[in-house]
């Protein structure tokens, strides 16, 4: 029957994991020969069997989703059919995923070979509610369709019988082929005309032209090598002008598949509403979903800072401070700078790292529970529509929301955003969220500066801070991240009860990563700032930090800030609260309570006060946040970009505030 006249050559094709090899093993038994496809490392399995008076030579082809030459498996399958010219192809399909499998059939039918379709896993398909009528499908497709349960060896003999019959009478094969490229008939005709006389065996000109239009790399390479220069350029221009024709061709195959499915398949479970569907009607609702999200976010916020913040304070008062005091006492006999370096520089930095641990552990636990339960994905979906206005992913909402507590988890939480640009933008914007330390500084300084007007001033500053965040997001989205499309599709997971081991591992991995990477940077920065504020050892006012502050006086005059306020801003880099302590040292010689408030009220004019508060709200993030930014971006370049960006925003906004206040009247510019 075959070209050689001795055996019928049958290729078994199919997508991966459809039971193709099971069928091959059932048919060939022990008579298998295993080698490699020429020039490839992919296994070629071949066997021979006597069936119904004929010798069948059977080749198990590699699993492939389509026949475009984008993978070695696809090239092998296509090459086998075109070059070895089998008598028949037996295509095994997963009956429970028939639509996807029919795509390969649509491609096989374009090749010069008869095809028999074996519908495997019919039992699984039935269990999933699919009711498939093989006879109806056979009539619609115009080719034999045999139901199979290969795992129970059911249907294999009828499959072989049909394959042999088709091999003996190929003229009987008259399938209903998908009519593809209907929109591109003209281009196909142009391509055929261009290729006339150039397309060589075993390729058929019509198939070759269609594959070219689909952008098949192997066919394109052949066409380029066959065509003379001038025609090659015409070909390229034609293909460039229709580079998305592949989308229409795939669409035509899809229409054909949909017709076949409508004719022969019904799905009994299609209308069944699952528990996930019922819950999602609320969780994904534009209003209820948003309220649920706000409730969940508030709960996470409350747990993170209700549990984490007291633990942080307890650790600070009960562990870090006594340890620093003990070290200072123990080293009292050593030079003053040694005790200062260890107690204030090293242990000061290490203390900051340690006190962040409880808050991060609680935050990561909440994050892991939300993600593992499937709630986080839904929150992201609900928020995406709003967040995308500033170029952010919906998943950015929760990290940024938590940034009100602390910017460190906000930056680290950005890792839940899979999309790289969205993740980066979240990291860059997180430092602009007014964290609790900034709010604490605001809560102390606003009454000191503005007395009864403190509340509207504070509310106005926080509102303006959020407006700056949104405006920066929009600006970055339209400049640095410009032209990168954001349309996004999600497949939401089912709801799950989170696994405790997975949660524990997640919390440990992430907390340990913070300690190891960000912790090192924080301790180094702490030592550096301490040294700058201590040396040359003649008091803070003569320290290098103070000299640096005085050197920045020209900048200070633009912002309306004297050198003491600039130094306080810089000291806030280690931790925002340091700004108050530094003001206390520089204005009053150490007071940080009511004495400082009175002094500031007496010495600082409203315009300067407002400029200082604006700057401190928007100023560069604290050292811990910068370290987290470096850890999460894996890039000093982006970290420096982020720091410079907020620095410019802070100084720019402070200067505007100072000069606008000055323009409104001398009462605002002087005490």
């Amino acid at each position: 029957v075959s070209a050689a006249g001795t055996a019928t050559l049958i290729g078994i094709a199919g997508q991966p994991n459809v039971g193709k090899s099971t069928v091959f093993n059932l048919v060939t038994g022990l008579s298998q020969h295993i080698g490699n496809w020429p020039g490839k490392t992919i296994e070629r399995r071949e066997g021979a069997v006597r069936f119904d008076g004929s010798t069948l030579r059977i080749v198990d082809l590699p699993g492939t989703y389509s026949l475009t030459a984008s993978s070695p498996e696809e090239r092998i399958t296509r090459g086998f059919i075109l070059c070895e010219r089998p008598d028949v192809i037996v295509m095994i399909a997963d009956a429970a995923a028939l639509e996807r499998n029919l795509y390969l059939l649509a491609e096989l039918l374009a090749l010069p070979v008869p095809v028999v379709l074996g519908l495997n896993m019919m039992d699984v398909a039935e269990a999933q509610g699919f009711q498939i009528a093989p006879d109806v499908l056979a009539a619609a497709l115009g080719l034999p369709v045999i139901p199979l349960v290969a795992s129970r060896a059911e249907g294999v003999s009828p499959l072989l019988r049909e394959a042999l019959r088709l091999a003996r009478e190929p003229a009987r094969f008259s399938p209903s082929r998908p009519e593809i490229a209907a929109l591109h008939r003209e281009e196909i005709a142009q391509l055929r005309e261009l290729l006339a006389g150039h397309v060589r065996a075993p390729y058929e000109p019509g198939w070759f032209a269609t594959k070219l239009l689909e952008g098949d790399p192997e066919v394109l390479e052949l066409a380029r090598s066959w065509l003379p220069d001038g025609e090659r350029h015409t070909l390229q221009a034609l293909l460039d002008a229709h580079k998305d024709a592949g989308l229409d061709i795939a669409g035509d195959r899809y229409e054909w598949i949909a017709r076949m499915m409508r004719a022969a398949v019904t799905h009994a479970h299609i209308d069944r509403v699952s528990l996930t569907d019922r819950l999602d009607r609320w969780a994904l609702h534009p209003i209820w979903g948003m309220l649920l999200l706000l409730a969940v976010s508030a709960l996470v916020f409350a747990i993170t800072f209700g549990v984490g913040a007291p633990a942080q304070e307890w650790l600070d008062r009960g562990g870090v401070e006594p340890l620093r005091a003990w070290v200072a006492t123990a080293l009292s006999g050593t030079p003053r700078w040694v005790a200062g370096l260890l107690a204030n520089g090293v242990l000061g930095g290490a203390g900051i790292v340690a006190t962040f641990v409880p808050i991060l552990m609680v935050f990561f636990t909440a994050l892991a529970v939300l993600e593992a339960s499937g709630l986080f994905a839904r929150a992201a979906y609900v928020m995406h529509r709003f967040m995308r206005v500033i170029g952010l992913h919906g998943k950015s909402f929760l990290p940024l929301f938590l940034g009100f507590g602390c910017n460190v988890p906000a930056v680290m939480g950005a890792r839940v955003v899979e999309e790289p640009n969205g993740r980066l933008l979240t990291i860059l914007l997180a430092p602009l969220v007014p964290c609790s330390a900034r709010l604490a500084v605001l809560a102390f300084l606003a009454p000191a500066f503005f007395g009864r007007a403190a509340l509207p001033v504070a509310v106005g500053l926080v509102t303006a801070n959020l407006a700056v965040l949104a405006a920066t997001g929009v600006a970055l989205n339209r400049t640095a991240f410009r032209g990168r499309p954001m349309p996004f599709i999600m497949e939401l997971p089912l709801y799950h009860v989170p696994n405790a081991r997975v949660i524990a591992r997640f919390v440990w991995d992430n907390t340990f990563a913070f300690l190891r990477k960000a912790g090192t940077v924080i301790v180094l920065v702490s030592v550096f700032v301490w040294a700058a504020a201590y040396f040359p050892g003649t008091g803070v006012e003569q320290s290098y930090l103070a000299r640096f502050g005085r050197a920045l006086a020209p900048l200070g005059s633009v912002l309306g800030l004297d050198w003491r306020m600039l130094v306080a801003l810089l000291a806030g880099f280690l931790a925002r609260e340091n700004a108050i302590a530094t003001l206390g040292i520089l204005y009053t010689g150490g007071a940080s309570g009511a004495g400082l408030a009175e002094t500031l009220a007496a010495q600082v004019p409203p315009a300067t006060a407002l400029s200082f508060l604006t700057a401190i709200m928007l100023f560069i993030p604290c050292a811990a946040t910068v370290a987290a930014m470096r850890q999460e971006t894996h890039s000093w370049r982006w970290t420096l970009f982020g720091v410079t960006l907020v620095l410019l925003i802070a100084f720019g906004a402070a200067a505007v505030v100072y000069h606008v206040c000055g323009a409104m009247g001398p009462g605002l510019a002087h005490v």
Binding site: A97, Y254, E418, E419, F488, I489, M490
Partner: protein, 91 residues
Amino acid sequence: MFRVLLGVLVAEGVAEVQTLARSLNLGAAQVRWMLDELRRLGYLEELESGCSQACEDCPLRAACSPPARARGWRVTERGGGALRPRPAGSV
């Protein structure tokens, strides 16, 4: 249908497979397959999971329940470009 699906994705900005399936009167499996096909053709890009470790290397894979992470795709530049009308006079 692929162009329709791509058009809906670009117009909506954000879409979910089940909701998409209902609005297009298709099965979820069908939409999932079409998304995979669009990814294969280069019009969509599947986003990597936020997990830094691949499941096959993870010591917790036995304890891990079926993946609770969402799968996500985004429209590529080619996907967005495919919907733009061709300039007049093109070949």
